[in-house]
Amino acid sequence: MEQRIVITGIGVVTPIGIGCQEFWTNLLKGLSGIAPVQSFDTSDYNVHRGAEVKEFNAEEYLLNLDAAHLGRASQFAIAAARLALVDAGVEIGSLDRQRAGVSMGTTSGEPREVERFDDSYVSKNLDRIGPEFLALYPCHVIAAHVASELNLAGVNIMIPTACAAGNYAIARAFDVMRAGRADLMLAGGSDAFSRITFTGFARLGAVAPESCQPFDRFRKGMIPGEGAGVLVLESLNRARRRGARIYAEVAGYGLSCDAHHMTAAHPQGDGAQRAMKQALADSATRPEDVSYISAHGTGTQTNDRLETIAVKRLFKEAAYSIPISSVKSMLGHTMGAASAIEAAVCALAVSNDRVPPTINLNDPDPECDLDYVPNFAREMRVNVAMNNAYAFGGNNASLILRKRELLN
């Protein structure tokens, strides 16, 4: 009999709050984290807004490593991991460290380290770059730093599948646990606000000038953001043994590739549909049993239209009665962290029977004609939540979380 895997802790670092409580309260209120970019000067750009994490103090979360020797994405990841463990009521000392691991996703790793390299290169001061470049830059350091800080010696993996990375990392942790290779996994994603990412999306014409308005007729694009989300995964048996609060069960997942275009989704949402379909099959869920969908919902014209098509093609009539929301309307696009934070949202929705709104949705697009939970959070029974994420490279990932009461 395969093990059932459950979520017992949530840690988030987001543009609308740090820690599960503050985040969830602000999310239900429909608070926006979008503001003028402060990380760097945007005067050479035609867009100037981003979703940055404010008032973050890494020192609060570091007992072993030194903040000066950690990139910002590693700092976020460590903070989210510590918050998740505290939320789960897990004492690190109580863990068999060989059987506790870390699985993280990211888009850019530690982009500020390569940006510093580039600044030095362009100003012909490359000798400023020392051994710290290799120690701080490669993306695997995020998972490595989390494990080093927390003294976890189990599986340690980094999955850089861009904007769907968080879901991939949670899916891998789920498999590692089901195969009996770990007792506890910290799984999620982290990304730091990046000049490279901002430049790229600005050049693609994908960045909105003011706000993120998923599914609105006048939506103008996404808003780059940053943050981290980490979940504590344990087996149901272990969670019950220690009397842990269970947010939700990780019921299954599906992964697919469009194999169509690097930055544009398949015109019929083919890959997205295959990922959702697999996730449903993997978790033995009927389409009509899905209570809520957390959309990828970036706020670009193409994404929101194609995502709607994919949901309609797969769910048929049922699509019209499933509430779908995009928290990116509030958080911006936190890149590799996005689907991890959205998985946290699904877990909270499942355990609290509330779903967050899609804000800034005032004038619905006729092509986007589903129930996007416009502007106000909703109280409703949430038995099963589906978390969808899509990425550059045509990487699609759908995750399914299920209510604790449905566990037998």
């Binding site: 850019s108 362009v122 350091v141 494990a147 189990g154 850089p160 930055t263 990425a391 550059f392 045509g394």
Partner: protein, 413 residues
């Protein structure tokens, strides 16, 4: 939960020692080294001018006349290796139209060169001059995504990045997906390119071999005189399939993924006992996953690359992981000739090991004269040796504490 058996039905490799398993293995067996002065970029002012570079790499040789402009060097290496692996395993374009084949790619950097160039152009000319096409290649999953487009790989597409262990972790990940019934056929392996940006990082970290015209100029794994590694480049992919389905379609089976293990050294190499313990743990896990005992291993393909500290940890970690049964274990360390190919390294070792299983020759470690005293690896030697290998252990050990071990088994069918 034991799951389905996972077999290898094809191999694709692009490396400085050749673009077929036979050529690569032939060079390794003869002790030919790929480590030469680098031509790809200027190494002026750097302590190490050496690397394992693929000279005159031309992806059109493998991919034909299609438009390769959107693919950077790393993506071209991966797409080329994928072409070779698909051909070798018989997964035709027609078959890929009706059945999903996926790709699990391990890479440390994908292309830090592409990322850096994109950013530098924006810095020098202004953000409005940065190229949107280049931007799509700045994501670390770019090579896997580009390769999926080139070859219509619509199944699982995952990129794994755990430094040196990326490629072996990718094979482990893919093997698990097949074992537990999530996929039937996956290309799995790794790639990294040689480029100035990563080279500079390794150089400044003091990890590259020096060049002072004396012994130790070249990477000599396990030798007393070793003074660092050399960077290499390349891509290596295995076609992994559900054994039963592979047999049904009449595929030629090259070997089996018998088991794997992963662990992490939290001290990131700062504490030697933690480092050794982590390596030992990964090996023990791989053995138990494969239902094998230490004495049933017939050879070790080591991760050792000439690093002062890394090689020492590995020697002790192997001893710990195999309960001291290393005396009769033949050892090779192909990074002595290919260089440290990072994400490609573990899969390169797998490709070479499959050839060893086929022809019974285990490459030596050229220039190896004096194995460091305390090293319990008595069968490491400079010359190739004969080895009848049924079960081979592959180690991959990173700079940041990542350890991965995998066991390959010969299939006599």
């Amino acid at each position: 939960l034991i799951g389905k058996r996972v077999v290898i039905t094809g191999v694709g490799v692009v490396s400085p020692l050749g673009d077929s398993p036979v050529r690569v293995h032939g060079s390794l067996s003869q002790g030919l080294s790929a480590i030469k002065p680098i031509q790809l970029f200027s190494t002026a002012g750097l302590g190490c001018p050496l690397g394992g570079e693929i000279l005159d790499f031309d992806a059109a040789k493998y991919l034909g006349q299609r438009n390769l402009r959107p693919l950077d060097r790393t993506s071209r290496l991966v797409a080329s290796a994928a072409q070779l692996a698909l051909e070798d395993s018989g997964w035709s374009a027609e078959m890929r139209n009706t059945q999903e084949v996926g790709l699990v790619l391990g890479t440390m950097f994908c292309s830090v060169h592409t990322i850096s160039e994109f950013d530098r152009r924006a810095l020098e000319a202004g953000p409005t001059y940065a190229s949107p096409m280049d931007f799509s290649n700045t994501v670390i999953n770019a090579a896997a995504g580009q390769t999926a487009i080139v070859h219509n790989l619509r199944g699982v597409n995952t990129t794994i990045s755990t430094g040196v262990t990326s490629g072996l972790e990718a094979i482990s990940y893919a093997a698990d997906l097949i074992r537990y019934g999530r996929a039937h056929a996956l290309l799995a392996g790794g790639a990294d390119e040689l480029c100035f940006e990563s080279f500079y990082g390794f150089e400044r970290a003091g990890l590259l071999c020096r060049s002072h015209d004396s012994a130790g100029d070249f990477p000599i794994p396990f030798d007393m005189r070793r003074n660092g590694s050399a960077l290499g480049e390349g891509a290596a992919l295995l076609m992994l399939e559900d054994a039963m389905l592979a047999r049904e379609r009449g595929a030629h089976v090259l070997g089996e993924i018998k088991g794997h293990g992963s662990s992490y050294d939290c001290s990131r190499g700062r504490n030697s006992s933690d480092a050794v313990e982590a390596i030992g743990t990964a090996i023990r896990q791989a053995l138990s996953d494969a239902f094998l005992l230490p004495h049933e291993l017939d050879c070790l393909s080591a991760s050792a690359n000439g690093s002062q500290i890394g090689d020492r940890y590995e020697a002790s970690g192997v001893f710990a992981g195999l309960n001291g049964q290393t005396r009769k274990l033949p050892v090779t360390a192909i990074k002595s000739m290919l260089g440290e190919t990072l994400g490609a390294s573990g899969p390169m070792q797998a490709v070479a090991l499959l050839e060893t299983m086929r022809d019974g020759v285990l490459p030596g470690i050229p220039q190896l004269k004096e194995v460091e005293n305390a090293f319990p690896l008595e069968m490491a030697q400079s010359e190739s040796q004969e080895a009848d290998v049924t079960n081979g252990l592959i180690n991959s050990i990173g700079l940041d504490g990542h350890c991965c071990s995998l066991i390959l088994t010969r299939c006599d069918d």
